[in-house]
Symmetry: C2
């Protein structure tokens, strides 16, 4: 069982404990997060990352807000919680799970209105823990549902990290691989390193090796030659937001993989919980794409690797049109050839 | 005028002087190469790189061999030169220009056979300098021929470095851009950083900025979103070896760009001298692909960025099938829709 990427320690006065993913793979260190500000920083700097995990982190951040302010009344508490929710929700704009989870804990708190601050804060924590437990179950269900697409002997290419480090359990994309292993299927993995922040090299390679999965690291620009030469049976990645028509925002580089996979007839799968769907957004053009600091590109490896003053374009995500996606693996089963109708059927 | 990446200093007893490209962009330093062993090391470790430049470097290495041995006879000198040629030719297997240039200086030396070691060594140097001068002219001709494909206001995406640092003059792919600038066309460039060795970030960005060209750096996995969003008018890269049917080996990552370019209807061009064609090889499957050490991927930039012991696949090149190439820009003009017939016409 992989190490938990985020945990809640104690009751409503407790705190969150996360694996600091920015230190991996050199150092495995857990840090305690005790204020919404610390959680905002942890999410923004990617100490905790992955769409499901930042949902849980955002929810925990709102719980922390309930314990951090000096609220003279329940009304003041609610105002503080809403402010904290908006603040935490703005820490990363692309993943919809963050806004979804923050909204869920706020709504749960609202249901306890009138019962006093302690009850409100207990309701917040209960909901955050419910989101956590639901995500655990969802990971298992995605892993199970994904067995339709993976056979003994398959070689999978994945991008970024949609594993245990990104969720409350053993991941989304990687859940399919872990579950295949539990069932005795032998599966090999190629992991894209995933520039600029190297989540594939630092996180996916680390957690797969830790679990004894056969993994080979490649640079992102090597994926096409792997697919051309027939070495890849299927591609599976996670997702940060899926529009109503199936267009999918995921880590930058996913689009290129999907296009190349289609060209070389390699099936391309997204594995993601239903909470990743944003049915209010008709298609991918409406998904906000986070741009991140240029230093991630120019000095991401500990020393500067580009000329001083060079212009940089650093989008954190891209959008893969639904037409490139063979199926979306969800906790409610597969959505094959995803489009507005098939998505409304399962996620509506 | 960009700085010369390689020069010959003195007569047959002289030496080569190169820009040590492994130190860029942090440090601009020129180093002197006085033995074939030093040249082998400089080529193998990519202090000097780029298909045309390593052709010149290999030729210079054979000239150095003529001055380094203690050859009692002309026969012994020839044996030593052939041995040095084979040795230098093995320093990098994919670029055909290296073997081609080594063979040219050896053939020229053979023509001076019977005239004594000094005449043989002078013939070697004369041929190496001829290759150098020819490459300068070829760069200019490629730059001129490429004006057909580039218009005022265009935005070009390029990969790796096929510029002044890769040739005796202002490059192949970048020659088209530099020449456009000389003619008053305003051209913007996006440069892929080109993992694992970041020739795009370290070299292309550096030399374009040095020449005042508007350049923006991206990670390799960001190219697809640029093309999807219509920001790229054309892609131009260099080549290391082109088979008789037009299949093209170039820096790893080129294939993925070509596939994505085709999908999004962005013209994809190769710019390369005729010496890059290997008409003895019918198609790309027969091109040897160099694999390089895993450390280039796991600890290329000063600190380790992947788990200890992780398996790595690190091919230095990939092969783009001719069908993805809109045209090859050569010193003899454009080869549009390259295939065996059109290539035999121009390069045969």
């Amino acid at each position: 069982m992989p190490k938990p990427t985020i945990e809640w320690i104690g009751g409503p006065d407790g705190f969150a404990r996360i694996i600091d993913q920015t230190l991996l793979p050199a150092e495995y260190k857990r840090v305690d997060i005790r204020t919404p500000q610390e959680m905002f920083e942890a999410i923004g700097s990617l100490r905790v990352r992955g769409a499901p995990a930042i949902g849980i982190a955002g929810a925990c951040g709102v719980v922390l807000a309930g314990g951090c302010g000096d609220f003279p009344s329940e009304e003041a508490l609610f105002a503080g919680l809403r402010k904290a929710g908006a603040y935490l929700g703005s820490s990363r704009p692309t993943a919809v799970n963050l806004a979804w989870a923050v909204e869920r804990v706020l709504t749960a708190a609202q249901r306890a209105a009138g019962q006093g601050p302690a009850a409100v804060r207990k309701a917040l924590l209960d909901e955050a823990l419910a989101i956590y437990e639901e995500d655990r179950a969802v990971c298992r269900q995605i892993g199970e549902a994904g067995q339709e697409i993976i056979a003994d002997g398959d070689t999978v290419l994945t991008h970024c990290n949609a594993g245990a480090l990104a969720t409350a359990d053993y991941g989304t994309a990687l859940a399919v691989i872990y579950r295949a292993g539990e069932l005795g299927k032998t599966v090999r993995v190629y992991a894209d390193e995933t520039r600029p922040l190297l989540q594939g090299a630092r996180l996916t390679a680390w957690e797969l090796m830790d679990e004894g999965v056969d993994v080979t690291l490649v640079c992102d620009d090597m994926a096409a030659t792997l697919m051309q030469s027939g070495k890849i049976d299927l591609v599976i990645t996670g997702a940060d937001r899926i529009a109503a028509n199936g267009d999918t925002a995921n880590k930058i580089g996913t689009l290129g993989l999907a296009v190349v996979a289609k060209e070389f007839s390699v099936p391309f799968y997204i594995a993601a919980p239903i909470s990743t769907f944003d049915l209010d957004i008709p298609n991918g053009r409406a998904i906000p794409i986070e741009e991140r600091p240029s230093q991630e590109v120019t000095e991401g490896f500990g020393r500067r690797t580009a000329p001083e003053g060079v212009k940089v374009f650093n989008p954190a995500f891209d959008v893969t049109p639904a037409g490139y996606i063979t199926a979306i693996v969800t906790e409610r089963g597969l959505i094959r050839n995803p489009d507005a109708a098939s998505i409304a059927d399962i996620a509506g």
